[in-house]
Subunit: 144 residues, 2 copies
Amino acid sequence: MTSTPLERAPRRHQTRQRARILEWLRTADSHPTAAQTHEALVRELPNLSLGTVYRNLEVLVSEGLIDEVASAGGGVRYDGNPKPHHHFICDACGAIDDLHLQAPPELARKLRRARGRTARRIRIDFYGLCEACELHDSNAGTAS
Amino acid sequence: MTSTPLERAPRRHQTRQRARILEWLRTADSHPTAAQTHEALVRELPNLSLGTVYRNLEVLVSEGLIDEVASAGGGVRYDGNPKPHHHFICDACGAIDDLHLQAPPELARKLRRARGRTARRIRIDFYGLCEACELHDSNAGTAS
DNA sequence: ATTTCTGCAAAAATTTTGCACCTTG
DNA sequence: CAAGGTGCAAAATTTTTGCAGAAAT
């Protein structure tokens, strides 16, 4: 038996720090890193420590209130929108945008046919150039 | 002007280290981290340094020979299969499996309609339980 | 009162770099 | 021999932890 040693879920206390982190992530348009989250909130909570931010992000993820988004380059980013959605990621500037479109049910079927597995959740990442970068950028096919 | 200062691509030399890293990644069934790659190869290349592995992975990515896969938890992983494909990720054990199915063209259309952007590349991640974990695991709806 | 949380600082873990010396072309 | 590459070690980052005191329930 690989017994999980009877782990009771702790009763969470409500703290200003955690509340603000969640609230801020919800309104953030980008998908911030732990450091960016700390940076943004340290103005109004001057003693907020990075450790506290890390610990709270972990709690919020485990409670399903936010999502972890693994971003290329290795950093973890956080997404204040826990509803299933997809992402458009700019190849040039790395910006991540939420897309609230629905995954075609066909995909789940394809998976089942290919592997016999059932998908609980499907996440689609679209890569391309965001509007700003597309304009900004003429050297798209020119390079040698 | 944000001039790219006329950067000439270096002529790469062929080295045993780089060759073996690429070759090993191609046959690897998992999606290894830099550390795992080093660990696996240090037997046959006893002086192989981690720094070299990092530098070569970066080169191989930039040449499009391998892919970076950002995995939750923050670590970067590498995928020796540069052809576009998708992933099935086990919620329980974290294993990542390649899926060689084709994204429905409908998706690109949806993106265009929703955002007016064009997708160069679409990556789909399916989350669920792999076969081993599904069997292994009876406590799926039982938890309080 | 008891449990959970915070801030701070130290410790780990991960990734990047500088540099002297080898290798490839 | 010139351009790249390697190994090693130090430095820079990023994330995790231990602890004593503070807050929440």
